[in-house]
Amino acid sequence: MAKILKKNKVSTKGTKKTLNKNTGTEKTPEKSSSAKRRERKRKSAGKLKGTLKTTKKPPIEKLDLDNVDEDELLNEGEEIIPSEDEGGSDDDRKHQKLLEAISALGGKKKRRLAERSEATIQISEFSVDAKGEGEKINLSDLIQTIAKTPAVSAQTKSHLKKLKLEEKTVDSPLTKPETERIQRNVAFQKSSEEVSRWQSIVKQNLKAEQLVFPLNQEAPGPKPLEQVVCGWKARTPLEQEIFRLLSVNKQPINDPMLTPIEEESLKAMSLEDAKIRRAELQKARALQSYYEAKARRERSIKSKKYHKVQNKAKRKEFVKTFDEMLKSDPVSALEELQKLELGRMKERMSLKHQNSGKWAKSKAIMAKYDDGARKAMQQQLEVNKDLTQKLATTLSDEEGEDDGETSEPDMLPDFVNEVEPGQDPANPWMRGQLSKDPVDLTEPSVPETAAAVLISEDEEEGPEETEEEGLLRGFAERRKQRQEQEAENEAAKNQDMEVMTEENKAGAEKAVASHDAADADIADDDEEEEELSKFTNLFQELKDSRMEAEASAMVAEVSEPECAQLQQAMFRIKSLEDMDLLDQEEQADPAEPNAEAPQPAPLESKGADKKRKRKRGIDLAEVLTKEATVIHVPLAPTAVEGAEGAAHGQEEQRDVIKEAFAGDDVISDFLKDKRREEEAGRPKVVDLTLPGWGEWGGQGLQPSKKKRRRFRLKTAPPPPRKDGGLASVIISEKRDSSVSMHQVGALPHPFLLPEQFEVTMRAPVGATWNTRQAVKKITMPKIVTKVGAIIQPMSRDDLLKHSRKQEEEGTAGEPKKRKAPQRKRSQKRHKKTKN
């Protein structure tokens, strides 16, 4: 390094020529010929390499620094003289010399000159590079050596690498037009954004049903006094003193009506808001008082029965919600279930409600004579039963539903079970229930053991027991019927039905309750019986209605094959006649399209009619397989069939079409339609004969032939139909030119469907057809302007109001909380826009 430095110094001193060899940049101004330069360069390069190779130790960082320093040094120390132009003419050289001479005179100027005359400008670089390629020292060369030396830290290496990568020059500043364009673009973006804020308000105004201009009108009504008298000031000392006091106490001065707090609250709540809020509060108050009154009323009710019913209802409600809870929140549902279970266990363990206590015994004695006591005991038992009943979850229900036999009793009310506890053990209906309910099982034994209870029960059920056989017969009959139907329905039973049965049950229970209530008053046995029969009727009705609903549901789903099967099973063929009928229908079906006159069906009942319909639905598959009757018509689409040698795919296609149109005979239908049209278009003979005019009239007398001929008007035949010669077209001739003048030709723009347009046309708007209020609303003009009012252009305040309103609508849930920050925000925006 030292050598190089020295050399450089020597060179600068000796020849007054600078050589910036170390850096290897093009700065070196050349003075001598290119050959010389090359030589020197080679030398220096060799030396440099040598030094570097031999002395691997010296710290490279230093070297770098040195280099820089050197450059600076050189630049400072050098007295650069512009080199002679090699290929230049003599004149040039002379000129250069002259310049040199001149520059030599003044020290300062020299330097500038030196800077100007860069070697690269005057010497052709290409010649240099072409030959001295290998010798040229680049920064990269140096860096390579650095990479070999281990002493170099990784950081420096990375720095160098980065330097290498970032060989970027600073971009030249953009031209003026370009910068202006950019500025314009930015400004435009800004202003168009600003303008876009109005979009929502513009759209809203366009959609508005009615706009009243001027838009931001102040509310009519008296203004506060302080607004009207704003120029007033306190003048007298007394007034001033008062105002001072007021200001000290933060009382309003200019605004004697409102304190600052009130003012704020006023600002926070506009009139509309206040109205809404007041309405809400009113409503809340009313509701509260209503509920309070209700609670008071309920509390004051002494009837145990009422409370019992209430409790029952609550329990039922709970069960209902429990099912939902089971789906939504199984964990808590399980807990509830456990609670219930616990309650049930306790109830089962204890003797409560078992009619075994002191009270019960005393009642049992009374029960013989006292109706109320009997009732009370019964209730106790009922409570027990309710409490010990196992909670039926949906799962268990489904299981129970699987075998129809066990589930069936569910459809019957508990009441029924209580009526005949084990009286007819042979009855499987009873058995099912008994086997299920342990209490019921015990109950029959109770009357045998405890006589008193038996008596009481006898008293209670007595009348029914006397009629029991008849009733049971009725039940059995109905049950039989039901079983028959049930057998048909079994497959169709599903969850929906379950719900329905439950509902029915509930309804039946209600009926029971009402019946009980009535029972309490009525002692007469016969009446009781009547009630009972009424109940059973009601129950049956409910069941029947359910059945009907099911049946209708079935009908709706006829198209589905499964249902079709179901239906076939549902309606049993009761007699042979029915069978015959079905057969006939099947035979008649294919003939139908052709047969103009329908075959007289022999004595079809309504049910049979229904059946036929259903049958048709079911037999779709069968119908599809049948061939449609082919009518040969020229130009008809059936001509496709004539195409022979059709490809397989085509055939398939045809099959598909055939299948699709198999049921309905399109062509004959069309022909029929056309014939009907033609028929309708033909002129009709109008008979205007009036019997009795000009001759004798009376019963059995006909107007004379002559007269009839005379008064029979034949209108002229219409012009030949346009579709007369066209077999496959119907051209309607209904269009009346005299009417069409008043008709709209094409669908007007805003309407998308003719129906929409027709609907709007059909709705009358006048007061003849609408009420005053409706007319007012319908005929409301879209834009209303006040006479003599100047309509100002929309201002930014409107925008603010609009945006605030929108925000409020967005946060309608909690309008109060967000009010204050909203205002702040909008104010901020306002400031921004002002700026």
Binding site: K190, S191, G766, V775, T785, I791
Partner: protein, 445 residues
Amino acid sequence: MKVKVLSRNPDDYVRETKYDIQRVPRNYDPALNPFEVPREYTRAMNATKLERVLAKPFLASLDGHRDAVNCMAKHSTSLSTLLSGACDGEVKVWNLTKHNCVRTIQAHEGFVRGMVVRFCGTSFYSIGDDKTIKQWNMEAPGYGVEEEPINTILGKTVFTGLDHHQKNGTFATCGQTVDIWDEQRSTPIRSFSWGVESFSSVRFNPVETELLASCASDRSIVLYDMRESMPLKKVIMTMRSNTLSWNPMEAYYFTCANEDYNLYTYDMRYLEKPVTVHMDHVSAVLDVDYSPTGREFVSASFDKSIRIFPKEKRNSREVYHTKRMQHVVCVKWSADNKYVMSGSDEMNIRLWKANAAEKLGVLSHREKLAANYNQKLKEKFQYHPKVKRIARHRHLPKHIFTEAKEHTVMREARRRKESNVRKHSKPGAVPMLSEREKHVVAVVK
């Protein structure tokens, strides 16, 4: 205890005056009132006919100018005041209710090019061919006192257009450049130019009050923001626009009156193509002004007629003309949305109704209801050919009629030629251009 009593509103059964028909409770059963559609159709027809019978839009002609009326200005706070400037430099202030001239000022030498009333209504500005901007007091000077402007600014070049800011004491002029002036200074606080040497009009946006637009002679419309140092954007059209007007209710729409007989409504954010092309005039459109409700605008044309266009419709809903009205140079829509004022070459200012068949003055309640009902009926049955024919029919002077016919023929010929060219050239070489796209040459950013 609350006792509920049957009560009726006396308005439902008591008539307003004794001349009113008795109010009878009606049964609205449709079975009892059949044929609703035919009956309403007849009523609609009658309403339409009546409308045409009652359509008498011309109210008054204000004469007094001794040269063609060149510009007009609405008073910002008084509905009954109108200002007009003539080609001889005379400015007149009119009282519209009395139909008379209140004040006459010899304001300029040469044309009065533009006038505008300050937002407060206490003074107004006028510019003229004498390169001056003059501010005048709205109050007339006392008897015998000479009319003198409050302020006079002598400019370097001729000013051609003038508009005042909606809320501040700044105004804009145009001439060779678009200048923004502070009222307190005699030199513009900002001047915009963008390679154009002359502008014909400049207008402030009444809603976004810092925005301006100007029409330049190089067929362009240039947008500015007062706060920026640069113009924002410009759109160059096939022909020159004479004036433009901003929609006072919709901040980003403006309509320009073009030399090619059309008006173009632009959305300032999307200048690539106009939102609507309004075409009905048969000569250059010279002026345009929006109704204060922003739903319609009125245009004045060289074809001696003024037309009223709904802002989103291609065709006009109304055309006003009289035998004596010559080229209409300026037009204004009154601030209460009821009247239209037009100034024309034959020195007259005319006052028109904005709705030709509207009854002016106070309407009784029943009159109002009837008018609303008729309007609704007309709306409902507007698509029916008979109704449509009557509602659309307008009498036109012969020259407009023939020219309009000629124009349809020309348009058709052009269309046919274009389609022929398209037919005989490479597919895609002659693209289909909608009417809206045809008239924009370029958008310069």
